[in-house]
Symmetry: C2
Subunit: 119 residues, 2 copies
């Protein structure tokens, strides 16, 4: 979805909204990112388990191909939702964790996911 493209959702057209009217149309950026496979689970797992290693994520999420997880992690980093922390050790160790933004997301996501799970 391209940015700044007026969708008419916010302008008062035929749809009469006298109450609160927030625009949810250009839901790009974060929403797009978290709509992809494993993105939500990643955020959730990091939220409940804290810093987690690459391999742990692979196992826990039941990820099918390593490259997919890699892509998703990079996207989440680009959005500033997660952070990568690498340690100079042998064998190499890398941990992923939520940024403050990611934590805020997780907080607002939780009620939704809890409900979606049982429904």
């Amino acid at each position: 979805m391209s940015e700044g493209e007026s969708c008419g959702c916010c302008s008062s057209s035929t749809v009469t909204s006298d109450t609160d009217h927030t625009c949810y149309c250009p839901v790009d950026g974060i929403i797009d990112t978290i709509s992809k496979k494993h993105a939500l689970p990643i955020v959730s797992v990091l939220g409940s388990n804290g810093p987690t290693r690459y391999n742990e994520l692979e196992e826990v999420l039941g990820v099918t191909s390593s490259s997919l997880l890699s892509t998703r992690l990079n996207e989440l980093m680009s959005e500033g939702l997660i952070e990568r922390q690498s340690f100079d050790e042998i064998p190499p160790r890398v941990e992923y964790l939520l940024t403050p933004d990611g934590e805020e997301l997780e907080r607002r996501l939780k009620p939704l996911l809890e409900w979606a799970d049982e429904a």
Copy 2:
């Protein structure tokens, strides 16, 4: 995503979670549905505007092709999130509205979208 496929997310594996541990892995069904294009805006618009006609939705969402909206509406109906109400009039009138489940979803969605919008 196929159902009932154990992802290992819920079993206590290498990931140590002593705190609350809810499983968010099999986020199928509703999450899948609302992850598709226009689904979220549809729910939001119906939430703030109440019953809305097909054409109004097309305008408001800036939908590109009519068939896409049609598909999305059917999916949301299958999930029991929205409801279709048709009137025997000429010209024909059809309105879509949230079911109780849809309203609950909208409630839980709102804080997320409000935050995502400004971020």
